[in-house]
Symmetry: C2
Subunit: 299 residues, 2 copies
């Protein structure tokens, strides 16, 4: 089954302890699509400006990602600039230029409407609702961020009622629910709508909640993290892509999807932008999936 993702496509300027990358390919929908493309057909819905390099279009197309929903609008592409600390889990946003993203209203091509799996990337809840109204997906995942929780909480809660899975950071669960304890926080998210909650904890891995059931997976321990930008979006892409490939959502496919998300995210961290993720093969993915098994099994 196929996956549709709606979200940002960006040019990122990033500084990390490992070096610097100027105006590299970025954006949540980019990382998501590249990760999901290992598993299934992907429809990317987003917007870029007239300055968006052809080589990036070519890269996405080379992965069989459908770009019929990638609008090219007059003006400049969304840009983000950030700097990571020596503790690479911490970063500062130095600059955000919305550019063509400011007036973006997602329009889903017919094929994108018919995807069985839909992921609403981290955009304004009102836009997420516009997408929901166009799509016919049987399974909907959602990301959000502190900004929308703070400035568009009611809109976000309306969207949450309609989605199956919320995939967010630990700090965002705390902000959304007002609850410090993540296990209790996940229960409160369930009460808002999503039956499935995935809490991402960066280098500490993630937790999966479905009702009272709980699964935990560590992040893959890397000797050298170059750039974690996009790791969370990559996780979501591996998670949704793996579910779509299996074609059904149950406790087994969900746990495996969380591992696939973690595998994909680990590759993203190993180079700037999506350089490493775009270079690996499905065989690499499965080798690291097996390494995750060795990393976590004790019987």
């Amino acid at each position: 089954m196929s996956v549709t993702v709606v979200g940002s496509v960006a040019l990122d300027t990033v500084e990390t302890p490992a070096g610097r990358n100027d105006e590299g390919l970025g954006g949540a929908a980019t990382f998501f699509s590249l990760a999901a493309s290992f598993y299934t057909d992907v429809h990317l819905v987003g917007v870029v400006g007239e300055d968006f390099p052809e080589q990036h279009v070519a890269l996405l197309q080379s992965k069989n990602i459908s770009l019929n929903g990638l609008e090219r609008a007059p003006g400049k592409t969304f840009r983000w600039t950030g700097r990571y600390h020596d503790d690479i889990n911490e970063r500062d946003t130095l600059d955000t230029q919305l550019n063509v993203f400011e007036h973006f209203h997602p329009k889903l091509p017919r094929a994108a409407c018919e995807s069985e799996f839909l992921f609403l990337g981290n955009i304004h809840p009102a836009l997420q609702m516009e997408v929901l109204e166009q799509a016919n997906a049987g399974f909907v995942g959602l990301d959000t961020m502190n900004l929308w929780i703070n400035v568009a909480g009611d809109g976000l809660k309306a969207v949450l009622k309609e989605v199956d899975a919320l995939i967010i950071n630990d700090s965002e669960v705390r902000l959304l629910t007002g609850e410090r304890n993540i296990v209790v926080g996940a229960s409160k998210v369930h009460a808002l709508g999503p039956e499935i909650v995935v809490v991402k904890k960066g280098e500490h891995g993630c937790l999966l909640f479905q009702g009272d059931r709980l699964f935990a997976v560590p992040a893959f321990p890397l000797r050298h993290v170059v750039d974690p930008t996009g790791a969370g979006d990559t996780f979501a892409g591996g998670f949704m892509g793996s579910l779509a490939k299996q074609g059904h959502v149950d406790w087994t496919t969900l746990r495996q999807a969380v591992v696939h998300g973690s595998v994909a995210a680990s590759f993203t961290c190993e180079a700037f932008g999506p350089d490493r993720l775009a270079a690996v093969t499905y065989a690499d993915i499965m080798r690291r999936y097996d390494a995750f098994r060795a990393l976590t099994q004790f019987t």
Copy 2:
């Protein structure tokens, strides 16, 4: 096989978001012994003052912990006072009174010398060396802290050459090795002596390194953490006790020992001091061990 532990026995005054506990039973050797006693015979070596309550002695004896090495010295018992933040992973030490611990020199009774497994709790490296010179253990584990890394680094390095396993926090690995990345840091610890490195990450679980092999386990997700004091020492007790019960150290028993340590530590967090740990049964331990399997297995 039996385990000997050398370390502090204390009276702790603790304030957490869940409440307050005045002069409760505490100390690294206490938590360690209680956890290890689920698995095997334990010899506790430490010192208390004349004011140490008989009920605590009775509790430890009720768990078949040998107290022949628990010296009762003139003066007052070691006291620690701490306050946890709303983020219960953070705490401030408000007061430390070494009292009888200040002039403590561990003297191991004959039976304690003959334990096959020895754990050197977090005390001055010179004292740890004194213990090593008395003992005949085949497998030695060690804990330490930022203070000793900073003020007694050479002594610590001399001890590290003699031990099999170092069990410390992530921040301590960073301080000891000067390396931010934990995987690289663990390699550097190997080079200092210990073939086995266990890195504790609090609520994020722990990592086990033996040469190039790596195992990761999450902490057990708890809905309500009352008091994490002693969780790390409890972990070490479950880890060493489980190894001693198996009677041999290999990659399988090590991984299982890390899970047993995590199980025991999770109970400690559920009440003040060792109240919960002391109340559970071996059947409770094994039930949560099975819950860990369900929490982490995906195939």
